[in-house]
Point group: C2
Chain length 253, copies 2
């Protein structure tokens, strides 16, 4: 039986999503719990993609197989009772054997939170503390140049070896907080993202908001296909994997 | 020279505000930093009051004396550069020698945050995860019985030895979040609070919201002057010291 889980996590205490030999990771914690449920037999989970150290997830998705059939609600309850408080299984559904949580991704949404106001110690791991004003209108213009299908080599991980750096950003937005005027949330909906892509786009957008670059610079940065042309990699703590979308293959059990 | 500091902290990593021999405390961290600034000579700080382990502060206040005069902005900068990221000095002002951060308190405001929706691992240390519906209207009625001057023995720490348990709650409120309907924030403005008073009132209010008690039960609980008559002590993580108010004695330098 193949199960698809939707889960949320606080990335602050982890070395990232992906399992590593000696580090505390999200994948490692979940697989440890599944091993217990599966009578000490190892279970490998396949997520929609990894998230970096310090990055959070509101709705990450992963699939795994279990020989025995367990009622999804009971499985959810067992997993949550064994998982640490900073990882939570929101939903479990049974999916088709041919469904794959990474290969079947149709779109993903990321959000990035910035505090332009006074430093706030209570949210330091959850909102990037920029603590200075940014030109949000210019950032909004820059975002529009990122939308569409582009070769994102300039915004990828420097030494990334990939065949194809083409990705499509379907929609971007800056959400202003009406009550807390110094807070902004930037959202990116895309068919897929390269490693560090959102953080590299955010680092560049922040430099645009600071006035160090113009919104139109995005055009030349994209054309250059050179990581050195874009801005710094923005801090991980402002970043959240908000949602992962699939086709209806999920329901075809 | 007497200085009044306004500071914010994330209480999750601390054994409370008040200094203890072997535990990590807010007071301990601030005094360690002031000792460095004061040429290795100890500086004692006097806060408006303590907060329990896990409780946060948006604007806590404390005073301390330094022999040498330091420009408040420079002092703020030095302190923040030496303090850990979960404590932040928001403001420093020079006050009169007769000003006392505890004895001169005119009023304090506390807020308590509850999530009645699905468990959220990202906010587990910052919002009490009740994760079930509460009868907010009945809780609102109960709050009104707490307003005014009362003997709060029933809501105090069980073994508290005090002369006078009379305190005055000036105003209470339940703030609903229009966008996130499952979130509520309860605020208490009072001339002073006993140890555990807000958490004991909150524990009782939650039992009222659960339907285990009625709002009018507050009257008999107050009259009983018996800690055993009230509800449980609510978890610390939902609680924030929001503000501390003084008369104009501050400005009379």
């Amino acid at each position: 039986m193949r199960y698809l889980i939707t889960f949320s996590y606080d990335g602050s205490g982890y070395k990232g999503y992906q399992k590593q030999p000696k580090a505390k990771t999200i994948q490692g914690e979940i697989e440890k719990v599944l091993r217990k449920i599966n009578g000490s037999k190892a279970v490998k989970i396949h997520a929609s993609g990894r998230t970096d150290a310090g990055v959070h997830a509101i709705s990450q998705k992963a699939h795994f197989d279990l020989k025995k059939e367990i009622d999804p609600d009971k499985l959810k309850h067992s997993m949550n009772s064994l998982l640490p408080g900073d990882i939570y299984i929101k939903d479990i559904e049974v999916v088709s054997d041919i469904f794959h949580a990474r290969f079947n991704v149709k779109a993903k949404e990321y959000i990035y939170k910035i505090n332009m106001g006074e430093y706030n110690p209570i949210e330091r791991n959850y909102v990037y503390q920029y603590n200075k004003k940014l030109d949000v209108v210019e950032m909004e213009r820059a975002l529009k140049y990122l939308e569409g299908e582009h070769d994102f080599t300039s915004f990828s991980k420097a030494d990334e070896e990939k065949e194809d750096f083409t990705r499509r950003i379907v929609q971007t937005n800056i959400i202003r907080n009406m009550k807390k005027v110094d807070k902004i949330t930037i959202s990116f909906l895309g068919t897929g993202f390269l490693r560090y892509q959102v953080r590299n786009m955010m680092g560049t957008l922040i430099e645009i908001g600071e006035g160090k670059r113009k919104s139109e610079d995005i055009i030349t940065i994209l054309e250059a296909k050179d990581r050195r042309k874009a801005g710094k990699t923005a801090n991980p703590e402002g970043l959240y994997l908000k949602d992962v979308f699939y086709d209806d293959v999920r329901q075809e059990v």
